[in-house]
């Protein structure tokens, strides 16, 4: 009897191990998401209330000018950040793929920013871009008296400083992913093309790059995901300022949740962020998981 019981337990052990972990995930991920979604449909202000109140918080959110600033910044930032990081990434990957002996060392240098916190990156670039003491001062000392580079404190240009620092940090990541993709291109195909007399340019544009399409997709999705979540870099570099000129959805949500105590609006903005990420990630995960099973 006892033995039979212990055998049943033994057989069920995998489930007994996975279930609590799964339950934790359900609670902390799906339960919390459900809570946030529910709060976005209530009148919650400083304290959460649980009575359904319709779409009022979403109407308030979409009537807030600061939210539009955040959205516009997100588009500008992610567009430039993704495009430049990818361009640099593919360029560096191709250059590094030319059978260079010190490739390992160079790759290490290109990729080390990824090991740093965005707060560290933001701190350094804030210093480099500092109008009084950074690049602007150096150029003036070199004799370019009229040189101005005040993007960091200029509301119209501050968002580009975040692009500069973000690209510096993440382009090496794109490079590493592209390089791994380049390495997986079949050598025989390349040799055949070379024997047929195709030049390097033709080989890359005609064969290599088209075969990297899945890598391009992965890189775009990873970078887009980084862009939507970007919070630390904005806080460290500009603090969302000047004013809230460099606000992004992530900083907007944080400000409304923890500084202005408008839980309903904060929850509504978080739900908008979740919806955006889902639109990108869910089809990707679905195809990845399905592709793996095949």
């Amino acid at each position: 009897m006892l033995r039979a019981m212990s055998r049943t337990i033994e057989r069920r052990l995998p489930l007994i191990v996975v279930s609590p972990l799964f339950a934790v995930s359900l609670f902390f991920v799906y339960g919390f998401i459900a809570w946030t979604i529910w709060i976005s449909f209530t009148k919650s202000g400083v304290m959460p209330v649980y009575d359904f109140h319709g779409l009022a918080q979403y109407e308030r959110l979409w009537a807030t000018p600061r939210w539009y600033v955040a959205l516009k910044n997100l588009f500008v930032f992610s567009g430039l950040f993704i495009a430049i990081s990818m361009g640099l990434g593919i360029l560096l990957a191709i250059l590094l793929d030319q059978r260079i002996r010190i490739e390992g060392a160079i790759r290490t240098i290109y990729l080390y920013p990824m090991a740093l916190s965005f707060i560290v990156t933001g701190t350094v670039w804030k210093w480099i871009l500092n109008p009084g003491l950074g690049i602007e001062k150096v150029m003036r000392d070199w004799g370019f008296e009229g040189f101005t580079f005040d993007w960091l404190v200029n509301p119209d240009f501050a968002i580009y400083t975040i692009v500069i620092a973000g690209v510096w940090q993440s382009s090496g990541y794109a490079m590493a992913l592209f390089l791994a993709g380049l390495r997986s291109v079949d050598d025989e195909v390349l040799k055949a093309a070379a024997i047929d007399g195709a030049g390097p340019w033709r080989v890359y544009t005609g064969i290599v790059l088209p075969s990297l399409r899945p890598v391009f997709l992965s890189v775009v999705i990873i970078l887009a995901h980084l862009a939507i979540k970007s919070f630390d870099l904005v806080v460290a570099l500009t603090g969302g300022g000047p004013g809230f000129a460099t606000d992004m959805p992530a900083t907007f949500m944080y400000a409304f949740a923890f500084q202005r105590s408008e839980l309903g609006v904060a929850a509504a903005s978080a739900v908008m962020m979740l919806a955006t990420v889902c639109a990108i990630i869910v089809p990707y995960l679905y195809s990845e998981l399905r592709g793996a099973r095949r």
């Binding site: 033994e10 191990v17 934790v24 902390f28 809570w35 059978r99 090991a115 919070f231 603090g239 962020m273």
Partner: protein, 297 residues
């Protein structure tokens, strides 16, 4: 048969090709400078005196090297009203990162093992549902998490942060280990099952010893993520329990008194040093973690 070997992509010879080769190295070298330049600025500024910073160019090498700014950043810089430097916050980060990394790695290993080697109906769905947690924007869980930590009595504490990082790290660690175990032959596990070994016996005696590479990749990835985290730290801790990233941001953005750029830079280096060291020592594993982060089931 052709006698000439085409070495991968065509490599022509002659003076034109040599010129291209030189050009290639020039471009690669320039990009090295681009990536290294902020590190150089950070280090050289941190060892300059404030006077030298104000007079000279930020690109110039330091005239005299002084570690005063480092000492101040570590032991006496003001973070808010407390002037003990980064040291206590650095310790907070250590106390937070070490248990959170170990816990999330162990649980992820166990989870990945159960999901691949003891497949049960619905294992794929369980995995897919858990995996989603790795990709959500954490803004969507900030508010309920803050309330839950409050109810557990963990609000504003380091153990609270350990819980948060373990829970939200689990999706990634499970992914890493699942992908690793899929590549491990079922034969060994099945043979051990026939010999009467149980779930945990196989895990600790057979599976875990052979998954050292996966463990290293996961530990490095988790350590980098958790050490560098800012969002959870700033949302769930206050003052004394801040991790080092939050403290660094507070040092840099205090508006009172004279701005000490050398101290800021030294503080940034101190906060970045642990992950940078891990990267230098185990870069290859770090890169593997990065590419595993690109999913690939």
């Amino acid at each position: 048969m052709r006698a000439r070997r085409t070495d991968g992509i065509v490599r022509a010879s002659g003076p034109g090709a040599r010129l291209l080769r030189v050009l290639l190295f020039v471009v690669l070298g320039l990009f090295c400078l681009y990536y290294l330049f902020p590190l150089f600025v950070m280090v050289s500024t941190s060892v300059k005196s404030l006077a030298e910073i104000r007079e000279g160019s930020f690109l110039a090498l330091p005239r005299a090297i002084s570690f005063e700014a480092w000492a101040k950043a570590w032991g006496s810089a003001c973070v808010g009203v407390r002037c003990d430097g980064l040291q206590p916050y650095f310790m907070n980060s250590v106390m937070m990162a070490v248990p959170a990394v170990l816990l999330s790695t162990l649980l992820g290993a166990l989870n990945g093992y159960a999901l691949t080697k003891w497949r049960f109906p619905g294992a794929d769905i369980v995995f897919a549902l858990m995996l989603f947690g790795a990709f959500i924007p954490f803004q969507v869980v900030l508010l309920p998490m803050a309330r839950t930590l409050g109810q557990l009595g963990l609000a504003g504490t380091v153990p609270g942060l350990i819980l948060v990082h373990t829970v939200y790290g689990l999706a990634f660690t499970t992914l890493f280990f699942r992908n690793f175990f899929i590549g491990v032959s079922d034969g060994i596990v099945n043979a051990a099952k026939v010999d009467g070994a149980g779930f945990f016996g196989i895990f600790f005696r057979i599976v875990l010893p052979m998954s050292l590479p996966a463990i290293v990749v996961t530990v490095i990835w988790q350590f980098t993520q958790i050490w560098n985290d800012f969002l959870f730290g700033v949302s769930f801790t206050v003052g004394d329990s801040n991790p080092v990233t939050v403290a660094l941001n507070n040092v840099v953005n205090t508006s009172t008194g004279v701005k000490e750029y050398n101290v800021d830079m030294a503080a940034a280096i101190i906060a970045g040093l642990p992950t940078l060291l891990v990267y230098v020592v185990a870069g290859a594993y770090f890169v593997r973690g990065l590419s595993a982060g690109a999913v690939k089931g």
